[in-house]
Each structure stands twice: as C-alpha cells, then as structure tokens.
Symmetry: C2
Subunit: 675 residues, 2 copies
Amino acid sequence: MTGSTTSGAAVADVHPAWLPDRAFAGIGGLRVAVIGDGDVVQTVRDEVERATARFGGALLHAAEGADLVLVAAAQAPGQLAPESFDVALDEDVVVVRAADGPALLYGLHHVVRHTAARDLAAAVGRTGFLGVHAPAEPIRMLDHWDNLTVHPVMGQVERGYSGDSIFWLDGRLRDDLGRVEEYARLLGSMAINRVAVNNVNVHAVEAHLLTDGLDDVATLAAAFRRHGIRTHLSVSFAAPMTVGGLATSDPLDDDVRAWWTRAAAAVWARIPDFGGFVVKADSEGQPGPFAYGRDHADGANLLARAVAPHGGTVFWRAFVYNHTQDWRDRSTDRARAAYDHFAPLDGRFDDNVVLQVKYGPMDFQTREPVSPVVAAMPRTRLAVELQVTQEYTGQQKHVCWLGPQWSELLGFRPWGAGTTVADVAGGHGPGGRAAGLVAVSNVGTDEFWTGHPLAQANLYAFGRLAWDPTLPATDVLDEWVDLTFGADDDVRDALHDVMDESWHTYEDYTAPLGVGFMVRPGHHYGPDVDGYEYTPWGTYHFADRDGIGVDRTRATGTGYTGQYPEPWRDVYERLETCPDELLLFFHHVPWTHVLHRGVSVAQHVYDTHFRGVDAVDAMAERWATMQGRVPDPFFDRVAQRLTEQQRGAREWRDQLNTYVLRKSGVPDAHGRRIH
Amino acid sequence: MTGSTTSGAAVADVHPAWLPDRAFAGIGGLRVAVIGDGDVVQTVRDEVERATARFGGALLHAAEGADLVLVAAAQAPGQLAPESFDVALDEDVVVVRAADGPALLYGLHHVVRHTAARDLAAAVGRTGFLGVHAPAEPIRMLDHWDNLTVHPVMGQVERGYSGDSIFWLDGRLRDDLGRVEEYARLLGSMAINRVAVNNVNVHAVEAHLLTDGLDDVATLAAAFRRHGIRTHLSVSFAAPMTVGGLATSDPLDDDVRAWWTRAAAAVWARIPDFGGFVVKADSEGQPGPFAYGRDHADGANLLARAVAPHGGTVFWRAFVYNHTQDWRDRSTDRARAAYDHFAPLDGRFDDNVVLQVKYGPMDFQTREPVSPVVAAMPRTRLAVELQVTQEYTGQQKHVCWLGPQWSELLGFRPWGAGTTVADVAGGHGPGGRAAGLVAVSNVGTDEFWTGHPLAQANLYAFGRLAWDPTLPATDVLDEWVDLTFGADDDVRDALHDVMDESWHTYEDYTAPLGVGFMVRPGHHYGPDVDGYEYTPWGTYHFADRDGIGVDRTRATGTGYTGQYPEPWRDVYERLETCPDELLLFFHHVPWTHVLHRGVSVAQHVYDTHFRGVDAVDAMAERWATMQGRVPDPFFDRVAQRLTEQQRGAREWRDQLNTYVLRKSGVPDAHGRRIH
C-alpha cells in the first residue's frame, strides 16, 4: 500500500518503529472507553479501535463496563494544566483524565508503554504509572532540515542520513502522505508538539512556502494536527526582498513591518493553529539584521510582532558566529560568539520569541561543555537545541545512542547545584521564562526511517526526555526496546550491550578530550585531524610537536571560561579541576601532560582509540547473536552498518594514533601497532 | 554578434587571443598569392583576403606580381614531408611551398608570426625564417575534458577554470559554433592537428556520442577540418554494454569485437577523416580490460583493430594506478604504477595504438621527475601528455607560465645524454616509433578563453613546443606577446617580468622539493598539507616531527628509482646527487637535512615561501604599470587575478610555514613571522 492512508493505518513499506501492532496488545484485549471530542481525541479513538479489533477487546463510548477509561478535556474537569493527564484507579478501572486532546493521546501512549511488556494490572503496580503526568518542557519540537529540492551540495535533507525528505519531492509536497501520517503518529506518541518542515537554511524555492506554497503547508499541518502537533516554517530574514519585492529587509522599516504583518495574517488565515517561524539569521551566509546595523532583538521582535496577534512564536537561533575567521587570529574564539552576541540582549526579546541555543558553544560535537548562554539570559525564553540527526556522531552509520549524552547535558547544573539546563528551558530557571527543547530530526524516506535502525531510539529518546529530562537513559532505552521488539529479555540485554556505552565508545575512537572537529570538511564523516585546522570556520586544535588544545582561560587564553558563572568559570579555568573529557576544549597542554586518570594526553589518545575499536568489535559480536531474534531486515541492516562502523572506527583509530605519534613522538606505553 | 560565423570572422564577445587583426598587418599590406585547392587552402585564402582587405594589400590567385606566394600540395612538387613547408626567397618574392593544405596554413602563420612586429623584409633576414620547417612531433593534440552536461561534482569541464564547454550545452552541441570556429582557427595557427572533444571520464550521456551523437560530432569535425585538425572521441571501454546492450566488454569476445568494428565503421562513414578514440581504462573508476582478466594490450588492440581499416588511431592512457590504496601500506607506490603496468607490455601494442603517458609518474604536479615509462617502451608509440589546464598549478587564478616547465621536461634526457623526451615522442628514440604530444586544453566560454588572460600563452606554447620542442620558452613568449599586443617593448618586458619566473614562483610558495599534492582534496586549489595524507589516493608525504618525504630508493624504499635507466637510477638514488627540487620525491629526510643549496629542509620551506610571496607582490606591482598599455578589460582581469594570487600565495606561505614550524620545531633563521 503506497497511497495516502488514514491516520494510524500502517504503511506497508516502512518500519513501524516503536509502534508495531504488537505494542498495543496490552490494551487491545481490554474494554476501553474513549470519551471526548476533537481531532486528537478521534485519533485516540482510532488507535483504540484498531488495537481492540486486533486483540479482542472493545472500544466503548462511555465509561460503563470499561477496564480502561480515557477521558479528555471538558469531560474531565479539574486542575490539570494543558497537555497534562492524571492516571488513577477507580475500583478496578484505570481512568486517564486528560486536560485536552493531546494530553489524552499522551495518556494513551503512557498506558501503551507500560503495557507493552506486561498486562494492565501489572502496570498499575509500577512506580510512575499512577498520578499526574505533565511535560517538563512546554516546547518539544523537531526541526527538519529538509529542502524542497535536492541541493547540489547538501542533498535534499541537509545533514540527513536517511534518504530523501518525507515531505517534499521536486519542489512540492509529495502526493503520497502515508509516511507523513505515520511520522506524525510516531511523534504524537512521545508527545512532540511542534514541527518545522523546512531547512533553516532557506533557499529560493523554500522562501516561497510562505506565500505560493501555503496550500502544501496547510496539508502538512492537517496531518500533524491530528497528533497534537503544530506546524512551523523556517523563513528567510530577507523574505520581504526575495519574496515580497521590497528594497530592504530592515527590521525598523515600516514597509518591512507591514509586509511581515500581511504575510503572517495570510498564513494564519489559512492555518489557524500554525505554530510560527524558525529563523537562522546572520549565520553561515543567511541574511539578518546586521546588514542594516540592527541587532538580533530588533530582528526577532520584527517577526514576533507580526505573529503575536495570531498566537505565533518566533524561534530565533543563537547560532551566530564569524564563519570567515582567519586561522592565524588566535584572539577570536568561536566558542564565545553566541554569548557575546546574545547575552547583552537579555530582556529585549518579546515574550513570543524563543531563543534557540545549541547545547554547546560550538556545533553539536560529540563532546562539548554546555553553552554558557543557558545561564546568561534569565529574562529570555531559551530553548535548548539538540541534534538527533548524527552529523558529528556517526551519521547513522555508527551506533551512537544519544540518550546518555542528552541526559548528562540536560541534567548539567549551570550554577553548580540546583537548577539544571532542563529546568532553565522548562521555565524553572532564575527568570522563570519557559520554552523547552528543539532538535534536528533524523528521519527520511529510508525504510527504517533513520538509516541505522537503532537510531530510531534517538528520535524516541528526544521526545521522552523533552517530556521528562530526569528519565534515566537506560529506562528510555528499555521503553523503546519493549515497544519495538516486545518483552524479550535477550533482545533487551543485547541492545543494552550494544547501545548503552556507544556514545562513549564513539567518543573514544574519534576526537579526544573535547577537542572536536577532527572530521573531513564538508561532509563531516570520518577523520581528518587537520581538516579544519587552516580553514575560516573557527574550529582549531592548534596541535604542534609540543602539545594540543585551545587555551580558553581568562588567565592566558580567549577568556571564554569567564562566560560561565561560578563554579564552572573556575573549574574549567584551572588545569587541576578541569574534567579530563573537556581538557583540550579549555586548555592547550603538552602531549606529556598527565590527565586525572593518570596517563599522558598522547597515551590517552592511544588507549581510547584502541579501546574504542575493541568495543565496536564487541558490539558487532554481540549483535551477531541476535540473528533470528529480531526481524531479518532489521538484523541485516544493523549488521551491515556495524561492518562499516568497524571499518570507520579503525580508520579513526589509525589516523588519530598515527597523527599523534608522528607529531608528539611519544611512543605507546604498551607497544601496540601504530602505523 | 553571437550567431555562427564564417571561418576567420571575429566573434564580437570573445577575445582574439594571439590572432587580433593587427597581427596580420605585416602581410595585410602585401600582394599575396595563394595557390592550391582544398578546405585548408581555402582557409588560408580567407585569412589573406581578410588581412589584405583591411591593410591595403591584395589577394592574388597566381604568383605573378606577388610579394608573397603561398603554394600548396600538388602545386608545389618536391620532397616535403607531410605538414612541412619550405620558405625561400625568389628574387624579392617570399615563396612558401607547402606539402599540403595544413602545411600551407602553418606556413602562413609562420610568416604572420615573423611579421607581427616587423615588415617582411626584416623577417626574411631573421634566423629561422627561411628554410624547411617540419613538425618535430607528428601528433600535436588537445584533449578536452568537456562533459556534455554539468557534472554534479566536476562541473561541465572537468578541471576547467574558464567557464563552460565551448562545444556542448545541455547534452547537445551548442547552436552557436562561432567560438568553436574561432578556437579551431587559433589551434590551426599553431599547428595543432588533433582534438578530442569530450572528457576521458566518459559518463552515460557522453558514451552515446559514438552513436546517437554522431551528427554533432560531424558538425564539430567540419569546423576543425578547415584548420587541418582531426576530431576524436573519448570512449568508454564498457560501451559494448552501456551503449550496445551486450552482456560483456571482454576484449577477446567475438561479439565485442564485432560491435566495435561496426561502431567504428559507422563513425568513419559519417566522418571520413575522423581521428580515432581516446581511452581511459581501468583508471579512477573507468571500466577496462582488467575486469575480464585481460591486459591493456588486449584492450587497446581491440579498439585498434576496429579503427585500423579507416586509418584511425587509439590513444590509450597509461594513467592506471590503484586509487583505493591504504595509506598504512608503505610498500605500494603510486609512482611505480604506470611503469609496472605497461613496461611489460612493450611490443604488444598494434601500430595504430598510441600510449598516452603523463609527463610525470604521479599526476601533473608542479614538480615531478619525468616518467620512467618514456625510456622503457622502445617498441611502443608513446605520446607524452601535458596539462595546459592548470589543475595543480593555480587553476588559472594564478599566473603560472608553463613554457619553462615543458621546455625542461621535453628536453630531459632519459639516458643522461643524447635523446630527449621530445625525441622519443617524435620517433627518434631507440625504437624509432613516432607519436607526439597531447595536452589537456584550458579553454572555455570565458571571454578571454582561459579565465586568466595570461593563460592564453600556455595554450599557445603547447602548440609551438609540439612543433619545435627546442624553442626557448622565452622566445615562445616573445612570439605570443608580439602577436597578442603588437611590437611593444614595454609590454613585452613587463610580461617577461611577470611571467618568466612564474612557474618557479608558484613552486616556491606551494609544495616544496618535489613533494606534491599538498592541496585541498577534491578541487585541488589552495593548500592542505595533510589533505591527502590519509586518503586512498597514494599521494603521501609521511611528514612527522623528525622529517618528511617519500623513500623511493632501491636501498631502503619502494625501489622506484630502479625504473630509470642509468644515470638517473643512481642520481636519484643517492642523497648526494639527487637534485634539491626532487629531494622529497625520492627521499625521506630529516627537517634538518642540509640541501645542496646549503640550508635545511625546514629553512628551505621558510625561505622559498617568503620569497614566493614577495615575487607575487612584485608581479602585481609590475603589472600595475601596464594600465593603459594593454586593453582595459585585459588589464583589469589580470589585475583581479593577481589580487587573488597575492591572497592565495600568502595562504600557502602561512599554512606551509606554520605546518613545518609546528611539526619540526625548527625556527626560522631569519626570525620572520610564522603564525
């Protein structure tokens, strides 16, 4: 079946990810009442109807005689905040009361998750099943870097490793939206509530989505709406000129203001629940307010005021830096850029502006410190941006389970104790301004959605951690395994063995000690230690025969450590306290510098690179035991990718080790083969 | 005027290069008789008619009353070899007797060159004017790496730096062939006699030129024929499969033989003077005989036998090497590849096969030793391949006058004394087999033909040196200046100042001491010292903190020196005798190794890189004095390119110096700024 499908129906040639029919067995045998009205409630009803039809239960339209009652909105008066639901036991009946349609959908999937590997009675007894459930992050958004056509350099999906766009084909919306509907269903099941449907790098064709392409956007919005998701567009700051024909895009120009006001009105007239705009301005060649001598508050507020009457939000990216830097210039530090540009603007952004801040100061590296912007703008709504698509973490050819990375950084405490990064994003920081989490999606037309089948878990984890950042990554992985494969201890154990440490393993065999960017320029896959060393991109390691790393201290370096509050400004400043894994991000040290873990920097490179390859080999061996235990196509694809990962890990190991040996002259203490 | 033009008429929007009307002033004022028949004689007659109409002379059809008589073929009986002409003085009349039409054209331009800056009487008194003139190289061929469509990576012209193809547009021949006719005229004026009109990397569209596209090829052939030039196609060895629909391309398969026989017959039926095929087989992904366990003699002879009945030639490229090498493998040496593959096949190639050998063992680097294949195959017709397009020599953004490089390598004596490279190619080597020179063209749709206007001189020099490899490069440059700008001592002096040493200057500020390939992978422009160091391409320098270079000695290295006859096998083998400029090509030495010129390798890098930038600055200053002395568009374009060259030279200087300082730790003896 390749035609357009009704919501919830399976698309034959695409993997069901974490929503196979089997996952609904726990509720499918029950008598389930769904009570309420509206698009999303109807989606819940459709899910229940399908599950009960398959597994012998029944869909009821009233609570009487039900084992499980799902009741939404006006039918469930109470003190529930939007998107929240309460699960209670009324005699033997499980009752989910939801604040609204989306909350009911989240409640349904809460029950599905808890019953995927056990029956409802057992689920009720589990910690975390009953009680009130509310999202920690109000904004839980996926950004698609999808182009409408195939970009000559970036392909159709920029940094996409899973085929083409599921939305767009040859400049228009695809005729077959079956996959979009399946995708919306997957996102709704883990409570994603916003999607941006085109690349933040807005090219000519995409710029016209705002006008000529609005019918296509409305069609997409209808598909997402049924799963509680609002649709957004990435727009070009130059649209008043390139689309509107004006002579300027100056944010203080009256004609420009009027143009955006009209454009926004037209969008909302067509799509009343449209979410808003995503803007990459003055960044890597995109136009922005700097061209007119205006700052980014001027720029963001221009759009914010156009969309405010409609309840729209402007997502303004803080990824602004000088990408035409001179490598000879050691005083300019790209890591400083977002803070230097935006911290002074704190308090100047309108309430419907969300400043979208990458989690680290550079660009989605395997290891970076948390961006100091997070702690620097209490009067601004901050969304933290993650990258589900694995640009720098193996491009969905390598297993790199990102749950642990995200747990770690969302739980980072910018002031040393108390408030976490997730708290700040969720509105519990010093200023109390709430926003949430945004991430770059990793899906495409690939039959497994994500190229590497195990990368489905990253997409799943993003949604789950945006709902509850305190969830242990290992629990999230359990959920994903149980939903995807059913309750199979062997499979679960194997996937933990393969995935739990895969981020650390990837870190081991790639760039060491937080140094980053030792990748091939352009496509960013595979090693090239000096690939970015003499480029304009501001991503240097300054390795010479004596040492390596970037001195970002206040004492002798770029002063970047000073962008952090206590205690980190001093923890990072001092060699004695700087964590090993970030050493080269903050300090330039000799190859012979001894880490806290007791070996030299050079020796650490050798040790971790040999260890990383061994770990990948072990992953491949462990996966081999799963043949026949998971569906063959899934098994085969993972096995193929692991072969490439083994090759790739060896290439990283050998290039890094050779580079360090050639440059440092430090021999491996264990006498292993370095080429 | 953009429509199709008659031969010799100017195309308004394109630079006349070395054939401006003014260059014909010397003969235009004379009474010139043109005697003979045929296409090329008619071209000569058209040229004379146009010149005399402009400058007050007259075209005569018989010798009576002429100042200059040009007489061709049957009208000039004698002992002249094909393509040769004799210039004699009969009383006061200059008589050019030519063996054939092309020879008459060459004779005409011989007179034009000698009279561009003086009158005929003065020309007669010059050494080299009178007497018999014959080409040293029977084959004087330009290969176009033009694709029919824009290749997603390589653009329309692979390694083209001058705009799009002058032949092809969107998969077909251009409607407007005005530029092609002008181009054929330029080539004919310096005695080019063969052209291949499509890329040696033959993609799907180009593969069909052999069949569906034959009308287009015939149209091109007609334009070239009028200037004495035969047209060739690059063909794919897999054409029997991809075009012919056979199941194999095995050279020993009867159906394959029959297919090529039919294909050749069809081509020659349509284009009776078609030249033949160019083949890049088993090279960088192109198909070839290896797939069938056959060798390259089998492959080449397959095609040779198909074209032999028609007088066709097969140009078989010797550029065969392993491009999926492992950088860890130090025993495989790409420099050895052409010799290892082809020398054992000497004597097995049919007479109408020309083995086309790149001048060096690697790939058109700024500095390489001469390929040992030249001395290794006496029973094979060898054409030496040069690269007029400046892939590795500045991409027509930098001035790099290649006349001196070509003079040096054509004059190289593979056996130490006696026979030169040019002699071998011309049929005066040990085996006496004649072929000639082939080069990759540097033209495109750019208004100056060559992107950098001064790169016109390289195209001109290729033709002139193929005619007479003993011409001093400085004399060739004089010719080009006098034709292009008229007899202007200041301009000539300025161009010598800018161009004479430009190859050495380019060598100075780029890769040192013959090491090569320190360029950005892919596009090959600008520095990237380690860019190819860990790739599969076989192009390594093995720099570490102790030293740099490739040990290609017999004693301790890859044994490549053993591919040379005496004396070079020992000259290159020994550090004491290896020329400085090739040191790192043959030896791995410490950074502190002292060159014959008395400084260390590291110090040499610093010295030459600072010196190279100074030289470019001096070139730019010198060129600035030409404002108003050469046409403004020409001046401006060169000035713009020199600005880029100044920037580029600094980038090379700083990256190379920094790399060497960081790695070697050797300080600059003169304390200059290294970043």
